[in-house]
């Protein structure tokens, strides 16, 4: 992976200006259903802020989500929202984006939705590099179903299906996405809202598939079960787990091992699938291809 220290978002953080989150919410559905302190709400703000800054019209915005807590987030956005089946939002979004290149298509998925049941769709979406932005809200657990182990649950953590501690290794979703060929891969924690917003901006503006892992917190289920404290502690903990490699070389060693790299972790300028497909199809058409 590229050095995150030299590859942080190039955007200047701009003042919120006239960004008013309520302009982007379905106010009649508020307050939302998420538990107190759930990081998904913070991620949602960052997303809407990014959309505002990019000047994307709500009418031209399509949000696709899957099943789970993350799947419910999209419904609060005042846009065309699609709450799809478990694991399949990326596939659905693939169809939507190919059919409607004019729409900005954003997928909100969770760690289980995206990596377990939807893992196949993820790697192929990465490979295809269609211009979709996928926000994977990673809270390390199946929250909606009551707290079962997920593909990103850290080792030794307690869940309702690992009552003596998880022994399965977790995915590094970003490395997975990068290896699968995603055009842009990034990770951020919810604590850093403007940075997260910038990362999402990067993701949306990148011509190709953007995979963004948002480290979110599940306080009510995961945090409580593992005694990780309340939301403030969990959010701060995520941040302190951020130790880009260069942070390791600080004041005196040994420092804690690096856990998370953030920022834009990989970027490639592979052709965007939709553009490539349409160009290819146009050539085939002028040649009068086929019998």
């Amino acid at each position: 992976m590229s050095n995150p220290a030299t590859d942080v978002s190039a955007h200047e953080v701009t003042p919120p200006g006239d960004f008013e989150i309520k302009d982007y919410l379905r106010l009649d559905l508020m307050p939302h259903f998420m538990c107190p302190g759930c990081g998904h709400g913070i991620a949602l703000r960052a997303l809407l802020w990014a959309i505002h800054e990019l000047g994307i019209e709500k009418d031209n915005l399509a949000i696709v989500s899957g099943i789970g807590c993350s799947g419910r987030v999209g419904a609060y956005i005042d846009a065309s929202t699609f709450h799809f089946t478990h694991g399949r939002p990326l596939a659905m979004a693939t169809g939507l984006k190919l059919a409607r290149p004019d729409l900005t298509v954003i997928v909100i998925s969770g760690d289980g939705d995206c990596l377990a049941i939807g893992g196949n769709h993820l790697i192929h979406a990465c490979r295809r590099n269609l211009d979709i932005t996928c926000l994977m809200l990673n809270n390390e657990v199946y929250g909606m179903t009551g707290g079962q182990v997920s593909p990103t649950t850290s080792e030794s953590m307690l869940t309702t299906t690992t009552t003596t501690g998880n022994i399965e290794p977790a995915f590094d979703a970003c490395k997975l996405a990068e290896a699968a060929g995603a055009g842009l891969v990034g990770r951020e924690v919810t604590l850093q809202v403007p940075t997260l917003k910038n990362l999402i901006r990067d993701g949306i503006t990148h011509q190709g598939f953007s995979f963004l892992e948002v480290i979110s917190d599940c306080t009510e289920i995961y945090g409580r079960k593992n005694d990780l404290g309340e939301s403030p502690e969990m959010i701060l903990k995520q941040k302190s787990d951020l130790r880009p490699e260069s942070f390791g070389n600080t004041a005196d060693r040994p420092f804690r091992p690096n856990k998370l790299e953030t920022g834009v972790l990989a970027r490639s300028d592979r052709p965007e699938y939709g553009v490539a497909y349409r160009a290819h199809a146009a050539r085939a058409k002028t040649r009068g291809g086929g019998k």
């Binding site: 307050p31 998420m34 759930c38 703000r45 604590l191 809202v193 306080t219 309340e230 403030p232 959010i235």
Partner: protein
């Protein structure tokens, strides 16, 4: 009197001076106060020499020379300088203390000394303001700044250059004697030059950018949607100014409006969008929401 900020080498300069004076047969008393000096506080050294010296400290208004290694510290100790005859030599280096950046209000400016060198030199009978650090860097060793000040100081005392350099050599790192010799000369030459050509002073630094909304013009107002707050405590606990609390109904409230700086962290971090930070311009009663710079 030699003043500066902890770690700058105030004690070193005063020791050089004290030792030199003693070697010239004077009685010398050199008084310093430390303990907190390491913690970023101001440091000051009284050096008194003469045939007979009583008090180790210089009475206020009786210092013949005030050598400041830092600009604001120089201003702080001005009352110790003899108003009619005192010589003031100050490095224009600014070490801004965190305290000067304490005011978090929108539009706040630093509490660092506002006076420009030109204004101060106007007030003292014989004053010099120089960028010793800059000169030292030109010479190739930023650490030689203090020696430049010693050179500047030497111009007002009647000791031979060789004696100065002999003592200085005892205090500087091995191998840097030559640089420091040049630095000493530089300080001395500069003073001579300025004395011959009083108009040649340092240009004043350009004034800092002024905020569009000067402090006091803006009031921060937190718009809280009670029904949306889920009492998660994130805002309360992560507010840098600790100015939020949950009220008896466990709904977030701004409990210390004066402390709130409108930094928006609570707005950003509220997972439930219950908080909106508004900046209200006071001088025209309309709600200046988001009236950013």
């Amino acid at each position: 009197m030699i003043v500066g900020v902890g770690g700058q080498g105030v004690i070193m300069i005063s020791k050089v001076l004290a030792l030199l004076c003693q070697s010239q047969g004077y009685q010398v008393k050199q008084s310093e106060v430390h303990g907190m000096a390491k913690r970023g506080g101001g440091v000051f050294c009284h050096v008194r020499f003469g045939e007979e010296v009583w008090s180790p400290t210089i009475p206020m208004g009786e210092a013949d020379m005030l050598i400041a290694l830092e600009w604001a510290e120089g201003l702080r100790w001005l009352p110790f300088l003899r108003p009619e005859t005192g010589i003031f030599i100050a490095d224009t280096q600014r070490i801004v203390p965190p305290f000067a950046c304490r005011n978090r209000a929108v539009g706040a400016q630093t509490a660092y000394a506002k006076e420009t060198p030109a204004e101060i030199l106007e007030k003292v009978s014989d004053g010099y303001a120089l960028d010793a650090g800059g000169f030292a860097s030109e010479l190739g060793d930023a650490r030689a700044a203090n020696t430049i000040l010693l050179g500047a100081l030497s111009a007002s005392l009647d000791f031979a250059d060789e004696d100065w350099l002999k003592i200085i050599a005892k205090f500087v790192p091995k191998g840097s004697e030559k640089v420091n010799e040049r630095a000493f000369g530089k300080g001395r030459d500069w003073i001579e030059e300025v004395r011959n050509n009083p108009d040649e002073m340092l240009p004043d630094a350009p004034p800092p950018a002024m905020p569009a909304m000067p402090a006091g013009d803006v009031e921060i107002n937190l718009e809280i949607v009670d029904a949306w707050c889920k009492s998660c405590n994130i805002c309360v606990r992560l507010c840098p100014e600790r100015c939020l609390e949950l009220n008896e109904l466990q709904i977030v409230r701004l409990n210390d409006p004066d402390a709130c700086t409108g930094c928006r962290l609570c707005e950003w971090l509220c997972p439930d969008f219950a908080i909106t930070v508004n900046r209200v311009r006071l001088n025209n009663n309309r709600k200046g929401k988001r009236e950013a710079a």
